[in-house]
Symmetry: C2
Subunit: 108 residues, 2 copies
């Protein structure tokens, strides 16, 4: 695929030491990553003022925290973390999980 089109399943990579992020696109407006989580891996809960994040599950059943809620989500389900709301993702299953993640604007 060219630089405008991506197959996240083809690009996904996993690493034993921690959750892997594959960047598809970065600009002044946003980043778009694929998060790849082996069983037991996570992104620690955090919040950022002024940035929104969208998660869309591509494979597996990751648990996404937004605010005080934790939901195990299936393929094609979506979670939105608005500016300032604590969020994180963890893979509490025995299978790999991938998510498309868009954050706008990008940090920094």
């Amino acid at each position: 695929m060219s630089s405008y089109y991506f197959d996240p399943q083809d690009l996904a990579e996993f690493a034993g030491e921690k959750m892997k992020k594959i960047n598809l696109h970065t600009s002044a407006q946003m980043f778009c990553d694929v998060y790849c989580l082996l069983p037991g891996q996570m992104q620690k809960d955090h919040a950022h003022e002024g940035n929104d994040k969208v998660y869309c599950v591509l494979s597996g059943r990751p648990t996404v925290r937004i605010g005080e809620e934790y939901r195990e989500l299936g393929v094609n389900e979506v979670a939105v973390a608005p500016s300032g709301v604590i969020h994180g993702v963890r893979n509490e299953t025995e299978e790999n999980a991938t998510l498309l993640v868009i954050m706008a604007p990008p940090p920094g």
Copy 2:
């Protein structure tokens, strides 16, 4: 699901007159919609300076134009239209299509 979690397949709605957009989230940072296209429906090609758009196919096989390229994409495939690059989507198949669409920042 609460206001942070969404099942786009559950929310999808189709209308005979034109492609339907279901809004999941709007803020100063972005909008996140589900585009729902019956066979033959489309969003006309357009461009916007200063806004990026990400498409992720949730069902069907829509054709996404970015710049001078047209690609029929399958479920979980992603297309990115950077600021200023012409883009659009059409459903040239006989089955319905849905896409998650994030634009940052939102127009206007």
